[in-house]
């Protein structure tokens, strides 16, 4: 009774027979039709950076207008359009999709996957984002919106904003919202299902943790704003009265819906930034992240609490006392996990061996700036104090310390950290450092003084002001700072353009990184990894380097013996 024994050569191997292999696209068609997460990531990053520069130019125009008291450079309508475009651009067309760009490129690489879970949806995400941006900027040629990025009703209703600008804004919210929602589902599916063997939740890189939470927050918050702007659209064009008080509607409904989305949106913007920082600091301090579990847990706690504090944007509205108290205490609570992260980052550098390459400089700059934004947030959480500070330049300063610190400096750290992986070339350290110091000084000159401008009683969103006290001087300082900041950003643009062509070759792992993206070549091949290594810790690359070292040592010991 001879049972047939399967030998290795007889094992059934699944065969893939390709009847027709499409020739790969080249040139611009390759970019237009790509579903590769890396190419889509690059598209995201380049597109959003262009929008970032447009938003920056809008900011500079506003600062020029404010550089003199009672200035007449811009008309009130233009000024209102500029701050509407600036805020909307920076939030919907820069920070959120830039994080999606980083996520697109690096989440699959860091978890050892070969692409996102849904590559075609991924492409759809990008093209929806771009069309949202184009529709919005198209309004510049007709009537740009003038209602601020918050577009409070009833100002945004047809009675007070009859032109199509608000409609362009609504379409932007819908298109970029759909883009982010589809992207978020994609991130979630990818991170949950496609991690390398051995990568349990306790070994997930912290950037990937933050992208997971970013995705969950987007999924929870976006449907609310999508509903809110749809109600606004029907109010404007189909005769409904959701926000019209004369027919029983409520303007406060808009504010609640908007901020129910708007506050989580802040964490959607800064949490991935925290993730980038949590990757950069341990690499350049040559030390494991301090309290991995605490940082991952703090991310989740911040996201949860972030869903419960929206009305701290509405302390001056007619709201019941108990609501004010609830949202004050909730906002206080958020300071705890945020503080924990701060302390963990500092403790990661403590007793490390810190090498100040440009990414690390931006990370440290982030810590310094974000700390100030966090602390001024406590002032604003105390609602009687908020009554004095809200809607003034104090808030403008606060939100820029949070978003420039928490997001933009982190994004620049990410650009300098990952550019070698994306392009295979190194950025110039000299230009990078010059860019950092110029940006850091410019940023603080621009925004530190704005706290005082607000305390002196200057509301935000006004196109002119009288020269009372030192208001004109303070505003001039701020304007000078904004141009220094712009020069700093320009230096990075020059650095990137130069280094793409002429930068020195980076090699797979120029920083001795900790995570799997440094395992593959720079730039990575289309399939990312020929072999996906087994993950045994939070820092798989350290294990791999140690393994290689051990193997070489053993060989060195064996070889003399054999001779």
């Amino acid at each position: 009774m001879a049972t047939p024994q399967l030998t290795s050569t007889q094992t059934a191997v699944p065969q893939i027979v390709a009847h027709e292999v499409p020739t790969p696209q080249t040139g611009w068609m390759a970019w237009l039709t790509t579903t590769d997460h890396k190419k889509i990531g690059i598209l995201y990053m380049v597109t959003t950076f262009v929008f970032f520069m447009m938003g920056g130019i809008e900011a500079l125009l506003m600062r020029l207008q404010l550089s003199a008291a009672d200035n007449t450079l811009l008309t009130p309508g233009t000024y209102n359009a500029l701050f509407t475009m600036h805020g909307t651009t920076m939030i919907f067309l820069f920070v959120v999709p830039m994080m999606a760009g980083f996520g697109n490129y690096f989440v699959p690489l860091m978890i050892g996957a070969r692409d996102m879970a849904f590559p075609k949806l991924n492409a759809l995400s990008y093209w929806l984002l771009l069309s949202g941006g184009l529709v919005f900027y198209g309004s510049v040629f007709f009537n740009p919106p003038e209602c601020g990025w918050t577009c409070y009703a009833p100002l945004s209703e047809t009675a007070f904003s009859p032109t199509g600008g608000v409609d362009a804004w609504i379409f932007l919210i819908h298109l970029t919202g759909l883009s982010s929602l589809v992207g978020a589902v994609n991130f979630y599916a990818t991170i949950v299902n496609m991690r390398a063997p051995g990568m349990g939740w306790g070994r997930l890189p912290l950037f990937v943790w933050t992208m997971l939470v970013y995705a969950v927050l987007l999924i929870l918050a976006l449907p609310v704003i999508a509903g809110a702007v749809t109600l606004l659209l029907t109010d404007r064009h189909f005769g409904t009265h959701f926000y019209d008080p004369s027919s029983g509607g409520s303007p406060l409904l808009w504010q609640h819906l908007f901020w129910f989305f708007g506050h989580p949106e802040v964490y959607i913007m800064v949490l991935p930034g925290f993730g980038i920082i949590s990757e950069v600091i341990p690499v350049f301090a040559r030390k494991p992240i301090f309290g991995y579990k605490a940082i991952a847990a703090a991310t989740v706690v911040i996201a949860f609490l972030g869903l419960l504090v929206w009305a701290h944007h509405m302390f001056a509205t007619p709201s019941p006392f108990i609501v004010l108290v609830f949202f004050m205490l909730g906002s206080f609570l958020i300071a705890v996990p945020t503080g924990v992260k701060m302390f963990n980052w500092i403790a990661t550098m403590w007793r490390g061996s810190i090498e100040f390459k440009t990414p690390m400089l931006f990370a440290v700059g982030f810590l310094g700036i974000f700390l100030i934004g966090g602390i001024t947030g406590i002032f604003l959480a105390v609602f009687p104090v908020d009554w004095q500070l809200t809607d003034t330049y104090f808030v403008v300063a606060h939100l820029h310390y949070v978003l420039m610190g928490g997001a933009v400096f982190a994004i620049f750290a990410g650009i300098y950290y990952w550019f070698p992986k994306i392009t295979g070339k190194m950025l110039s350290e000299g230009l990078g450092k010059a860019s950092f110091y110029t940006m850091f000084i410019g940023f603080n000159v621009t925004f530190l003084i704005q706290h005082t401008i607000g305390l002196d009683g200057m509301p935000r969103r006004i196109y002119e002001y009288p020269d009372v006290g030192h208001l004109e001087l303070y505003n001039q300082i701020s304007t000078v700072g904004s141009f220094i900041l712009a020069i700093g950003i320009l230096l990075t643009v020059i650095n990137v353009i130069r280094s793409v062509k002429k930068g020195p070759v980076a090699g797979p792992d120029p920083w001795e990184g900790n995570t799997l993206e440094w395992f593959t070549t720079s730039p990575p091949p289309v399939n990312n990894f020929d072999v996906v290594p087994r993950v045994r810790s939070v820092e798989p690359m350290k294990d791999i380097r140690a393994q290689i070292e051990r193997a070489e040592q053993e060989r060195a010991e064996r070889e003399p013996a054999s001779v």
Binding site: P384, W387, Q388, G457
Partner: protein, 323 residues
């Protein structure tokens, strides 16, 4: 683990000054300079608080609630300054002390549970302190006091305010209706016919009030959202169409207190100014009587002119009349 870490911290703290003194004379000089600079800055902060008052705290001085907000803000500022110096100090100390040049080999520490629990609790304690301070100071900010004896005589029935926002303990205040409109504020004063508001005394842009008198405001809007704000008289209160918002102030010094709309309300938002002029109760009564007479005369003149202007169809709307 904790005790090892503790000794390590102590060791590194202990060795710090000696290292600096013996090996790096240059950085010791730099340290002395930094110390001098910090001392000078701290000294300036403590010795000249008046010079920095405008720079660091919100406006106040008109009304007790604004003063209390300013005090509460100052408490928060003190706590924030301590946290800021502590954290930023730790950050700068770390990046100076643990540069690669000074510390070529990093210690492979993954965390420390006790330390992490410690700073989590520490952060929470700071917030509890802030919460307690806030709740202690809150009544003085929210609750209007009674009018002083030197203030306007509030014994008339029009000053017994019913319903709405918070009232002084004796229930009497000068209750003014504030109505936000693109781009002006309208103030309606109380009179003895609460059911008819068409004959009330009203004013635009400048609100005239008596000193030493508790003034309560019912803030409304008739078009888009505005925000009532006179920095020296307290915080902002949004005027949202369909809702009423409430605040109060009590001025002891006669004078003009200026502010402006603080919620984006359209193109002319920047020029929607608000002004409160505080005068003595006697002057206030004179102003009120003159205003009442003027409004009565204007109404009478309008009533007389109306039939001669033409039929109701061609009656001019206020918008057409405004130049």
């Amino acid at each position: 683990m904790m005790s090892r870490l503790g000794t390590e911290i102590r060791r590194s703290v202990d060795t710090l000054p000696t290292v600096v003194k013996t090996d790096h004379p240059f950085s010791s000089r730099r340290r002395a300079f930094a110390l001098a600079l910090a001392t000078a800055l701290a000294g300036a902060l403590f010795l000249a608080p008046s010079a920095f008052a405008d720079f660091l705290v919100p406006e106040s001085g008109g009304s007790p609630n604004a003063d209390q907000i300013s005090d509460l803000y100052t408490w928060v500022l003190v706590v924030a300054a301590i946290v800021f110096v502590g954290v930023e100090g730790a950050l700068i100390w770390c990046i100076v002390k643990y540069r690669r040049k000074k510390n070529p080999v990093a210690d492979q520490i993954h965390g420390n549970t006790n330390l992490e629990i410690g700073w989590t609790v520490g952060a929470a304690v700071v917030l509890v302190i802030l919460g307690v301070i806030t709740f202690v100071m809150l009544p003085g900010i929210r609750n209007p006091p009674n009018s002083s004896a030197a203030g306007l005589d509030l014994s008339g029935p029009q000053y017994a305010v019913k319903g709405g926002g918070k009232q002084p303990p004796n229930g009497r205040s000068l209750n003014i209706q504030v109505n936000g409109q693109q781009y002006v504020w309208r103030f309606t004063y109380p009179d003895n016919t609460p059911n008819n508001t068409f004959d009330n005394v009203f004013a635009y842009e400048q609100m005239v009030v008596p000193t030493d008198t508790t003034v309560t405001l019912n803030i409304k809007s008739q078009d888009v959202a505005h925000s009532w704000w006179i920095p020296e008289l307290g915080g902002k209160f949004d005027a949202i169409p369909g809702y009423t918002n409430y605040t109060w102030f009590k001025i002891s010094k006669p004078g003009v207190y200026k502010g402006q709309c603080a919620e984006l309300c359209g193109r002319n938002h920047a020029n929607m100014v608000a002004e409160v002029r505080a005068v003595t109760p006697a002057q206030y009564r004179v102003w009120y009587a003159a205003k009442a007479t003027m409004i009565k005369a204007a109404n009478a003149a309008a009533a007389k002119a109306r039939p001669t202007i033409g039929t109701p169809q061609s009656e001019a709307t206020p918008a057409d009349v405004t130049p």
